[in-house]
Amino acid sequence: MPNFYKIFIRNNKTFDIIVFFIGFAFFISLSLLLAGIFFQTSLKLFLSEILDIHLWNAIFLSFKISSIVVLINLIIGIPLSYILSFKKNKISFLLDLISTLPLTTSPLVIGFAVLITMGPLNPIGKFFISHGIKFVFTPQGIILVQLIISFPFFVNILKESFDSINRKMINLSKTLGASSFEILYKIILPLSLNGLLAGMAMSWSRSMGEYAATQMISGVIPNLTETAPIEVFVKTSYGNYPAAIAISAVLMIISFISLGIFKFFYYKTKKSK
């Protein structure tokens, strides 16, 4: 027994080896699992599928929708994070709860809820439809659900960034004559630029890869509401594996890059403290 203590608890080297071994084992198996799809098809088939215009239409659609979602996130996310971080009270707690809810709710449920609410039988849906705005089976519907799903990511990261700003400094700038708006755009936003960019990258990737809620509202109309992740599912259900693999590969590379961007800025936020 004393030997056990000596080797595992009191020896830092053994500890390091064990920790690194578990970490790397997980890393390698995850990489193999994800890379596995690339070994399922021949290079020739893969190339012919990846040059298919239909595939790029779907990816481009996803791209466009995600970018619009990020822009809307910016417009509603900055004021919301500002309230959550700087105006703490009972209402902001409720607001925090509601805005984080989509993180833990099943995306399928969110998609279903939007489908029902925006449908022609619901008074809200009726109101929008009578004004010529349709959310069901349209790109705007996809934007709406992806916004609901992705903005908690944006708001949480930005709020965390806002929270790290020194409150005494903010108070001091008030006494120098700065109004709330001047404080926001001269101090708060420049200081949380990294958090802002990290939040944008994160919400963009989340929206790019969103499937369940999107599928509920999209109606899977080729070239109009068929986003890249949906395309993967459609191709798989037809048994067209090479095509599904091609899209998956592109999607994986895109999220690898955008996640890289997120991590870059996120670590920069941490470092600047």
Binding site: N166, K168, M169, N171, L172, S173, K174, T175, L176, G177, A178, S179, E182, K186, I187, P190, L191, S272
Partner: protein, 389 residues
């Protein structure tokens, strides 16, 4: 205009704790006033209330005759300098100082003042020159020392030309050299620009060095106010004396009062027995014969007599003989304890401060017997607390 800033009956509680009780004080234009008190006495809360960051429960703040209770902090023209420099990390020093000048409110205010029609850059460079921080314009806050940062923080506040600058323990995080430097800078710049300042501090040195008027804040009330030198030499109550770290506080009983000859005789009273020792003091108003009182004498006002010389007239008063029981070299002075009759109940212990060279010349050492003289004019009598007839 004498009363520049008036604070009237300010009350403030946090949860159930009353932090400020009926605070009333006035700050005069062009002066440095200071609020002295221990930590946690609500000094910072009071400053936050004055500049509008915290709302008071009741009471008024009047600046130049206008009630500013309802104004937002940014509308008040009251700048705050805190214990940390709190520079904006995303801006260089130039932009940090110029921050206030570029704000909408100050552009409107300053364009009417003649001296501020100069370009921003020149204004900033001038103030940096006055505060001795020239050459740092391009640097960023994380690259410079604490003392410099605090001066930049001060420059940032001064440059917006506020009605009054509030300073919340501005020296507490500085080392002793920067502290002295920044202190004398503030004194000079205040004289030059005639800025009104309100300083909050727990260090009596700051108060003595800088301020024209002092307020003592204790247990949420203003306990004493006036000229710092007077208060330090002649505290009006025992609470004030304790707060200011007054040494040589003795209990006594007034034996006789002679108003005509300007004389009061006081018997020492320690360990609740009447002592045969007595001292004489000049006449002070408001005391009666046989009244029990406290009296104080500052350690630097006690004179050790040189044996080789006959004492001059001034030091003929209140002679005592005693033995040096302790001699400690503090950073500036020798601190001696002198006991009149060691280890006996009627012993009286005096604390004496004297320069080190005097200690050497007089050949003093622990165990030596010396004669001391308490200057009659330096003895100050204080009423006993809670005794009301």
């Amino acid at each position: 205009m004498m009363n520049f800033l008036e604070i009237k009956n300010i009350n403030k509680s946090f949860k159930n704790k009353k932090v400020l009780k009926d605070i009333t004080l006035t700050v005069k234009k062009g002066e440095i006033s200071s609020i002295f008190g221990y930590s946690g006495e609500g000094k910072s809360t009071l400053l936050s209330i004055i500049c509008g960051l915290i709302k008071q429960d009741s009471g008024d703040i009047i600046l130049k005759g206008n009630n500013i209770n309802k104004m937002e902090p940014y509308e008040r023209s009251i700048s705050l300098v805190m214990d940390e420099p709190l520079l904006f990390p995303n801006m260089n020093i130039m932009k940090n100082i110029a921050f206030g000048l570029k704000l909408h409110k100050n552009i409107a205010k300053l364009s009417s003042v003649e001296y501020s029609k100069r370009p921003i850059k020149k204004t900033v460079l001038d103030i940096m020159d006055i505060l001795g921080i020239s050459g740092l314009e391009k640097r960023y806050p994380d690259e410079i020392s604490m003392g410099q940062s605090q001066r930049i923080s001060l420059a940032r506040a001064i440059v917006t030309n506020p009605q009054i600058i509030l300073m919340d323990e501005p020296f507490s995080n500085l080392d002793i050299i920067s502290k002295t430097k920044v202190r004398s800078l503030i004194k000079n710049i205040q004289k030059e620009l005639k800025i009104t300042m309100l300083l909050v501090t727990h260090d009596i040195e700051d108060v003595m060095n800088l301020s024209d008027t002092m307020f003592i804040l204790n247990n949420g009330v203003i306990q004493d106010s006036g000229n710092p030198k007077d208060i330090l030499k002649k505290p009006s109550t025992m609470d004030t004396a304790y707060l200011l770290g007054t040494e040589n506080i003795f209990e006594g009983k007034i034996a006789s009062i002679d108003k005509v000859n300007n004389n009061i005789i006081i018997y020492f009273k320690n360990n609740s027995l009447n002592n045969e020792y007595y001292i004489e003091s000049y006449y002070q108003q408001g005391f009666e014969e046989n009244e029990y009182i406290y009296f104080v004498i500052r350690p630097e006002d006690i004179i050790i007599l040189r044996e080789d010389r006959t004492p001059s007239k001034a030091v003929k008063e209140n002679h005592f003989r005693g033995k040096i029981t302790s001699a400690v070299f503090t950073s500036r002075m020798m601190e001696l304890l002198i006991d009149t009759s060691e280890n006996k109940p009627q012993n009286i212990q005096f604390k004496v401060l004297l320069p080190f060279h005097a200690f050497e010349i007089m050949n003093l050492s622990v165990g030596k017997s010396v004669s001391i003289s308490l200057k009659k004019s330096a003895i100050h009598i204080i009423k006993k607390k809670h005794i009301r007839i």
